[in-house]
């Protein structure tokens, strides 16, 4: 699944270089980390100089920022939003609670490990991560895109059964239609 730079075609290199400097982040504050996103986007930290900016709708967005814990109710909406997004698309897990549940490890309403349900390209640790850490995370994502190894969306398509199984285990009122790409 991972391919290094030598195997990239020249067109991929150009494509990835262009992609990595234009990351449109979906404006969906799924958890408390959303409070640091305005700070990252505005004057002091100014993520827009790196090509990172907000997008209002899933179909125009490239990056889904999971800002913190996901409750089961939100997870369903997030999956829906993620599947509405068009390629290329990336997921950033923001905060400790996306990695292993963080301080909500024993809560009955939050999932503990995000990458069982959605393919995560970059994790940013911390509770909550500072804007510098968020910028660092975006930098890492850009690096991965440049190398052509940020292929979470590819992974999701190839292993859809695995993800679907996990998702259905948690979401009790599953009413999505069965579809494939």
């Amino acid at each position: 699944m991972y391919n290094d730079k030598n195997k990239q075609k020249i067109v991929d290199i150009i494509k990835n270089a262009a992609r990595k400097h234009s990351l449109w982040v979906l404006a969906y504050g799924t958890g408390c980390g959303a409070i640091e996103v305005p700070a990252t986007m505005t004057s002091r930290y100014d993520a827009e100089r790196l090509g990172v900016r907000g997008a209002a709708t899933p179909r125009q967005a490239d990056v889904l920022l999971i800002t913190g814990y996901l409750t089961v109710k939100t997870l369903k909406r997030v999956i829906r939003v993620y599947e509405q997004m068009q390629d290329p698309k990336y997921v950033i897990g923001f905060g400790s609670c996306t990695i292993n549940g963080g301080m909500y490890f024993d809560s009955y309403n939050t999932i503990n490990q995000l990458d069982l349900y959605l393919p995560v390209d970059v994790y940013i640790s911390g509770c909550m991560p500072r804007p510098e850490a968020v910028l660092e995370g975006f930098g890492k994502l850009q690096e991965l895109i440049g190398k052509g190894i940020a292929n979470g969306a590819q992974q999701y398509k190839e292993n859809l059964d695995f993800y679907r199984e996990n998702q259905k285990k948690v979401i009790k009122n599953w009413d999505f239609q069965d579809y494939n790409w």
């Binding site: 979906l26 799924t30 409070i35 004057s43 409750t71 301080m103 909500y104 809560s107 939050t110 509770c127």
Partner: protein, 368 residues
């Protein structure tokens, strides 16, 4: 007039204009809202369940996460409730530091409100300015507590530590800077004729029913009722400080905006007084070892004035090492559900976001 067929319109949870992660289900006829339902639960982390498994001090890390934009009033409420339960007397200096932290939190949250209110009406410059300036307040927090957002600084027994070196000067300098910036905000937001036209007469709350609805804070003061927990039921050292409680009678978004415009200035005034009058001394009382701390059976309810209004914390103990029940009352619990559903009727779709911002909607506070 021909009656149009009502359509259902969902605003949220993924919507750039919504305040946080929640949903409003609207019934619209043309552009007019005829029915509204708030749907929450997207942020339910079951804090009140989790504290049953944590001891008195461990559960303290949960408290700041109840409301993300302004965590300190919740910490303060919990700390004060635990002190009431266990009869802990905190040192004088700690009380003053608490007031300072609470007022800094109020300013930072009001700056966030400026951004939200501007954003909801298409004035994106306001967000760039006020969120940028908010960083200066967060810098002060970082200096004092070590964290930008969740401080966990006010805790049962006092505050965690004293001011670092030169902190007072930094606070005063930041306040001077902020006061100058507020004039720019006036020019940009409050004297903006578009802002005035979009807010005057919009989001009207019936002033006769506000108290029965459980409305608190700036929404209540914007309806002409002078009510502030800091004066009505004073805690810490608010009775030794001089400040005004602004009121307006318009009862619309504009009136509430004017109330908040004065409030941020009053907070600066309070902070200057605190720096001037703060006494010397200890900043915390020794509390028992957190692992062995048991509190006798009883209950306490502590209220604090936050930006959105009165917040309260009910804590019940069964005599054990863990709280029996911690129940938080947020201002948004009332504002964003029953009140919002009523206020939205008859308004335009385009104003929903502005109304939500002006009522102080904060979803994590509703579902906890």
């Amino acid at each position: 007039m021909k009656r149009e067929k009502a359509t259902t319109l969902y605003i949220g949870p993924q919507h750039p204009g919504i305040t946080g992660n929640m949903m409003v289900r609207l019934k619209v006829e043309g552009d007019t809202i005829v029915g509204a339902r708030t749907e929450v639960g997207y942020l339910h982390r079951a804090f009140e369940k989790l504290v049953e498994r944590r001891n008195w001090v461990q559960s303290f890390t949960m408290m700041c996460r109840f409301c993300v934009p302004e965590p300190d009033p919740v910490e303060e409420s919990y700390a004060r409730a635990v002190e009431m339960l266990d009869n802990i007397e905190i040192p004088e200096r700690a009380k003053w530091i608490r007031v300072l932290v609470l007022e800094l939190a109020r300013i930072s949250s009001l700056l966030l409100w400026h951004a939200g209110q501007g954003h909801s009406l298409g004035l994106y410059t306001m967000g760039q300015w006020s969120v940028g300036d908010r960083n200066y307040i967060l810098d002060l927090f970082e200096d004092l507590t070590g964290a930008r957002i969740y401080h966990m600084f006010i805790w049962p027994g006092g505050v965690r530590r004293d001011f670092p070196k030169g902190f007072e000067d930094k606070v005063l300098k930041t306040m001077d800077y902020l006061e100058k910036r507020l004039e720019d905000y006036d020019n940009l937001l409050f004297e903006n004729s578009i802002f005035q036209k979009r807010t005057q007469g919009v989001g009207y709350v019936n002033p006769e029913k506000v108290i029965e609805h459980g409305v608190v804070g700036p929404v209540l003061r914007g309806s002409g009722i002078k009510s502030d927990i800091r004066i009505d039921d004073p805690y810490e050292v608010y009775d030794k400080l001089k400040f005004e409680v602004p009121t307006q009678t318009g009862s619309d978004i504009w009136a509430r905006a004017l109330v908040r415009r004065v409030e941020i200035r009053q907070s600066i005034r309070i902070i200057r007084q605190v720096i001037e009058k703060i006494p010397k001394g200890d900043v915390y009382t020794k509390v028992p070892n957190p692992q062995k701390w048991k509190i006798a059976r009883g209950d306490a309810f502590a209220r604090t004035e936050s930006v959105r209004g009165e917040v309260g914390m009910y804590v019940a103990s069964d005599g054990g090492a863990k709280p029996r029940r911690v129940h938080f009352r947020g201002a948004a619990y009332v504002h964003a559900v029953t009140l919002l559903e009523e206020v939205l009727i008859g308004q335009n779709i385009a104003d929903v976001s502005a109304i939500m911002n002006s009522l102080g909607t904060c979803p994590p506070e509703i579902e906890r």
